[in-house]
Symmetry: none
Subunit: 117 residues, 2 copies
DNA sequence: ACCTATTTGTCCGTATGTATG
DNA sequence: CCATACATACGGACAAATAGG
């Protein structure tokens, strides 16, 4: 399933939907040219309103990940192929870690710790 | 009036509303710290739905021109003061280009063409 | 060239939630 | 505690662009 929602999450539904698509793109499970399912179908299968799905699609369009057009649907852009979720955050983190003389293992442990908190 | 709409325009209402605020900021008629009228009030005076106004406010927030917060309203950001006229025009142009499904290259060629005409 | 189904776009309305002051 | 004001989600209606027959 390309789109999914987590009932236990407090994040907005449209954000969750967009995030699930980003994740698929990030792991290359969605490639440029591929089409996302019609908002209507997603809405029906996930039992959410079509507007919620469309809002997620429009968010992805604003991010340049999909090309959204009437009658055509949501198509993964070429730009999406170069998409990496943490492309900007990771280099900054590593640079700062180096400035402080931290080891890779130390940084990793800090990340893991943060994830489990 | 800070926000206005043109009944003869075919542009979406929320785009018109955002554009009118951008214009005010561009001519320095709105300064950082100033608050836009509550969406509810704008909706009532212009006889549009509150969601249409909120969508315009959210668009301006995405562009970094206003700080939008619950219970507080829409406040002009510091960044807005440094915005050049082009910096205010570009987001609107890009937003509209995206709505029409235009590619970056297409928009660029249109701009170049316009410059050389 | 025409028609139809599909699909997103906008706008309205309503309800409820949540942060701010 | 309370009023204000934005945030999200639902639903409905109609418009407009696209694709396919």
């Amino acid at each position: 399933m390309i789109l999914s929602i987590d009932p236990s999450s407090s994040a907005p539904l449209f954000e969750q939907l967009a995030a699930s698509v980003r994740a698929e793109i990030g792991r290359r499970a969605l490639s440029p040219g591929e089409r996302l399912p019609a908002a209507h179908d997603v809405a029906e299968s996930l039992e959410v309103n079509i507007h919620t799905v469309l809002r997620a699609y429009q968010l992805l369009r604003d991010e340049g990940l999909v090309d959204l057009r009437r009658g055509r649907g949501a198509v993964i852009t070429e730009r999406a192929a170069q998409f990496s979720p943490l492309a900007t955050a990771i280099p900054g983190l590593v640079a700062e870690a180096r400035r402080h003389g931290l080891t890779v293992d130390h940084v990793v442990s800090l990340v893991r710790k943060e994830f489990s908190s």
